[in-house]
Symmetry: C2
Subunit: 428 residues, 2 copies
């Protein structure tokens, strides 16, 4: 049976075989080193002299190497393999378009994405997506413990949740349908259906025309929604505890990933600072001379507020609360004519969460639709859900790629997506 490289240290003195990719070839005078990579790591294999296959062997070929495991001390670990035999299972015919065995992948983003299958083999990218899977798993683990149910809802929808023109349209057996901008309506319906607490990790779609380093047209949204809440503060507390649990998991289980990525696991403060949007605007006016903002922050404003909060409270996270009613979707609960029971969470100067309390009373919801210029007739099946006992509820959505990118400190969100979708990129 194939020995995984990570398990080779348990086989010192034994004959084994490994299978993997040729990561590096190093020819010395009397000895040849072949570094092999599999999903579990790297190992050095030592062959005497210049074997026959050496001339034809190309990097990244898939090979099988048999030999004896022996203790060693080199940059790849504490064992190596004295190679007996190397069999080329799948030969690579040409040179590689990008170099993937260096410490960093020194290439442009476009080149990286155009050569995605190869660039993902770089240890840094392997670490990125192993960390991403760990984030999702931590998200689920915490919510399962809090009595949330995982749900799966359709992405082909008739009633768009967020409204606006930024929605992909498709023909559904002759009917006009959309790709869901969020599972918003469905998670509300599920709360009302008696499940009370639900979550979903799934694709969402935004047909946004602008191309920035923080937007994708298809991304993974981690959504939850909870019923019987007092107000949006309970949702924020739930997120605070979620983040604490999640980052503890990352710190513990992801230690080697952070080492590979050469970053520290972020710290969640005991209490994440909360400031009202109106206060944030005031701070920006006073401390940054921003007289151009009203009721919302632009990307620069987000970074400025983050810097202010970091300085004052030593926190990389901040909740901005009470967004104006005219800036939030029609389902957002409002506490007065101007302000809503809503919040965003900024992490290192970027919004990674949008959430809030929702309107749970049918009349109020219809009235707010009209206030927002939305036609209630367009949302019949959604409104129907509020007829037979909808409790108070609220929830939030965390963008998975944004969170990943911010943890790692990536300049562009596309690096945090395996196969990103933007206006220019539909393949691979």
């Amino acid at each position: 049976m194939r020995t995984l490289i990570a398990n080779a240290n348990e086989a010192v003195g034994n004959e084994v075989y490994i299978e993997g990719w040729v990561h590096r070839i190093r020819e010395l005078k009397s000895v040849t080193f072949i570094i092999i990579r599999d999903r579990s790591g790297l190992i050095q294999c030592v062959f005497e002299g210049k074997p026959d296959w050496l001339e034809t062997l190309k990097l990244e070929s898939v090979v099988k190497i048999s030999g004896m495991v022996k203790s060693a001390s080199n940059k790849y670990g504490s064992v190596e393999i004295l190679g007996n035999q190397l069999e080329i299972l799948v030969a690579v015919q040409s040179d590689l378009p990008i170099q993937i065995n260096g410490r960093t992948l020194d290439i442009q983003l476009d080149t990286m994405l155009n050569n995605r299958v190869l660039s993902l083999r770089h240890e840094r990218n392997q670490a990125v997506f192993r960390l991403q899977a760990m984030i999702v798993s931590g998200f689920r683990a915490f919510l399962n413990g809090e009595g949330f149910l995982e749900m799966f809802t359709p992405k082909i929808v008739k009633e768009g949740a967020e409204g606006g023109s930024e929605i992909f349209k498709l023909d559904y057996f002759g009917e006009r349908a959309f790709l869901a901008q969020s599972p918003q309506f469905y998670k509300q319906m599920m709360v009302i259906s008696g499940f009370e607490r639900v979550y979903e990790v799934g694709s969402v779609y935004r047909a946004e025309q602008h191309s920035t380093n923080r937007h994708l047209n298809e991304y993974v949204s981690m959504d939850f929604e909870m019923g019987f809440i007092r107000d949006e503060e309970e949702v924020m507390e739930m997120e605070e505890n979620l983040l604490k649990s999640l980052f503890l998991k990352l710190k513990t289980e992801g230690e080697t990933l952070f080492e590979t990525l050469e970053v520290q696991c972020p710290e969640v403060p005991d209490r994440i600072p909360r400031i009202k949007m109106s206060e944030a605007v005031e701070i920006l006016r006073e401390h940054y001379g921003r007289i151009d903002l009203e009721g919302d922050l632009d990307p620069q404003g987000e970074r400025q507020i983050a810097a202010f909060i970091k300085e004052k409270y030593n926190s990389e996270f901040v909740f901005i609360t009470h967004y104006p009613r005219r800036k939030r979707p029609m389902y957002t609960m409002y506490c007065n004519e101007e302000e809503t029971n809503s919040f965003d969470l900024l992490f290192r100067g970027l919004e990674i969460t949008t959430g809030g309390q929702r309107i749970h009373e049918l009349d109020k919801l219809v009235e707010n639709m009209k206030f927002k210029g939305v036609e209630p007739e367009q949302y019949k099946s959604y409104l129907e859900a509020f007829k037979y006992g909808a409790p108070t509820h609220g929830g939030l959505a965390i963008g998975l790629e944004r969170l990943t990118a911010q943890i790692i400190g990536m300049p562009n969100i596309r690096e945090a997506s395996l196969f990103p979708r933007d206006q220019q990129r539909l393949i691979p």
Copy 2:
């Protein structure tokens, strides 16, 4: 703080309050029983006489009840609440269109789906989707333990995986795009990217025109793919072990769900029988007089083979292997001119899994595309992945709703989808 109904038995002798839906109202001469439901269960609340609110209280209203917990023994459990006060938090104004507090939901499927938010409140439906979440969680837990990585891949694609006309089209910023019929290409790319073992639980789309009780146009696919395999037999062994682990989890953690659903947790045999497609056709000819089948089974044939296997091997599962090359997609490895290294898994007479080994050599893949009448030019970015060392690999996909429906014994797969999508149904 609100006491969850399931935790009330820890509060005997204490004053508590609960919040939930009015499940049932029972008026006796000198006492009124209100049965309350929350996400954790049901409880009986006892009020003296006929309280003021009784006349206006409708079923499914959201209420808060304060009172003393006391030991009891009734059909709802071992405690009840001596009600002090009932506050209607959200009133229901009208009678319910369907009755949801009976032992069964005695309504047509269409009525159930048209009133989805209400019908999901029935305890049987609550159990269905709690079981479904448990299935997914068991799928992930097993694969995580086997070194698989969870991945998230785009559903808006340019290169369709399965081909054919049964694919939804959409306009993607002026370019023609499709909704993914499966994550097939992406999971192969991820194996080749060095992750070796990957899985995804996500939506897939089939624009199939026919309407049956076992098809949905959008469903959840549980996919995995693994590299460095000997042949498809290794994939089947992985599924066998996955199913054993999964059903053990369901049996242990899902005991009360199975009781509510009034079904037994299925047993996975130590070894699932395997028969070749050619043998299956022979058996159907010999034992069922089916002379009309060649190289594939129709739904009746699947049920007949299942009955034969159940009789002969006492197994509700059977792998049908070696499907003909002309019946399988172009990426399927073939072992001779006629047969492929492929399999389906039938469970209780229905296909719940399709899998097999894939072609990992570029030349062979291009040649097989031509054999299948597929234009390699259409699959450029997919083919690109095979240039730089693609190991042997294979995998499978399990339909989540089908598996759920078969475990529970549902006549129609739509019952196993929260918000099913078919040609007639785009809402809710």
